[in-house]
Amino acid sequence: MKKLAVFAIIVLIFGTVSPSLVDGAYAQNDPSILLPIAVQADKQIVNQLDRVYGDQIPNNLQILYDKGHGAVYSLDESLPNDIEKAKQDFLLAMNSFMQISRIISQSSEKVVVVTVSDKSNRNLTSEIDRLEKYVKTLETISKKYNADVESDFIKIYDLIQELRQQVNDLNEVNVGIKKIKIILDSIKNDIRESALEQRSDFIKRFFDRLLNQFDKQLTKAQNDGLDQIQIDKGHELILEIRELVSKNQINDAKVIFAELKALMENIGYSVRIT
């Protein structure tokens, strides 16, 4: 028995620790990818330096570039045998190149840092791409609910095609995007209406499943001789929730449900996660 128990403990300890070992191994996946990234960054930095400074590179940038370039060479030599060294080389190279590109941007461009949420920075093609992706997601959902919105989607796809042809005309694109958004709002309403019945069933099923489990737990607590007042209170709350759900007063049901959960936790009979 003792040997079996020791064996079980060892297995459990290994079982508990092993997921972290697997994660570690995943993080070291294929270090050979580091070299092409670093080489490409090196080339891009050389292009940048040439474009901005020609043959008159400032000394600080030259030093940084030499450091980064040297690290790329060292990375090439470290792979595939010395992975740890290769990682250090990669980080050193990319850090040096990052510093160079930031210095170049600060010194040579008369542009302040902007987040892309700034509307002056709009790229209409990207905006149309994002909108199309959103439309496709809604289309998939609408099929699930059998919402009668197929013609609306055809209209939207036609508009998107038109927008792509007028991508250089900001006003036309703005008008087109507005039209699409109006149709999308109508589609979302249609989906909500179609989903109403299914959604209501879905929520009722959720409460039913949980309340049945709470009910069983309360019976168990009663058999275990727990305080009858608490158990009665629990049953009252369950009845109240059932009534609210049947009247579709979901938000009120949620409040009482939170109260029931707290009570069950207090008496030490919370429902297990299945």
Binding site: Q44, D55, V116, A195
Partner: protein, 335 residues
Amino acid sequence: MASFIEPIQLKQSLGDDGILFVRNDSILDTMVKTPLLVASMIIVAALLPIQSSFSSPRDLDLIIYPDGSTHISTEIDIDPFLTDYELNLFGNTIDNLVVVGDNEFLLDTRIMDDSVLIQTFGSSVITIDYDIHDLVSKQGRLWTFSLDSPSNFTLLLPKNSAIVGMINLPINMEIINDQNQLTLSPGKTEIDYLFSNTISNSIPDPKIETNYFSYAIIGGVLIIILIGSVIIIRTKQKNHKSVEDNLTTKKSTTLDLETIFKLKSDLREDDKELVKFIFNNGGEALESELRKKFLQPRTTMWRAVKRLEREGVIEIEKKDLQNLVKLRKNMGDEE
């Protein structure tokens, strides 16, 4: 001597201070019931994966658009006993949010600054899609992506973008539709990139090479046939040309590589490579082109070019503020 050593258990009398020492080999059994220990460990082991899996993204995929806006798609395991679930978003400029529960059930949401309250009602897995504008900033031509991720994630960079700096190690990289996709670890990530028209497909992907191995073999055979045909045709043309050359006695101004290396037999191997490149490039090349080709720092390349100039192999001319390196035409005459 050994007979004087007496096991402590056998001592009949107590010490001066009256303490009784008891040696116990089975302390584990005495103090902790083994079955209890095993049962506790089973419970701990069973709960650990549940605790770590809830509320942590199962998948997190990011797509950066050319304007820096980012599409986020994530799948999260949640407690099926919850009625609501509050999720922290990666910023507060959110567009096109869609949350779907089990069986692609559309869930109701309410955005509150940089978080969203989702009515999950028993869903055990939710999928969240949204666009965000807070993750990328731009300075001049340089774009910077920043994220503090709670889990591993994939990041698809825009077409024609090239990474020029990053602060952490990528786990993996693939090319999808001519775009680089990185897999990155949890924690703070910063990636600088810029757009360049010169990038056809930025980084060679070893996986693609292996996937198309059979195509590579067919391609290789075709290339060999093509090269063979070209060599045969060229040999024929050369023979024809040499006869013509003899007839016209046209004086060639640039020496061939073999002659250059014969005349300058003490050239360094790396310098010979430079000369070869210049020769194949029509006898001239910009110093910047040489740096790009051989990935040499500016100073190293400058020294190499100066060395070749001293040797009399090349001459340097200024062209649009750049150094144009040319093979010398009268090298043979000097010798």
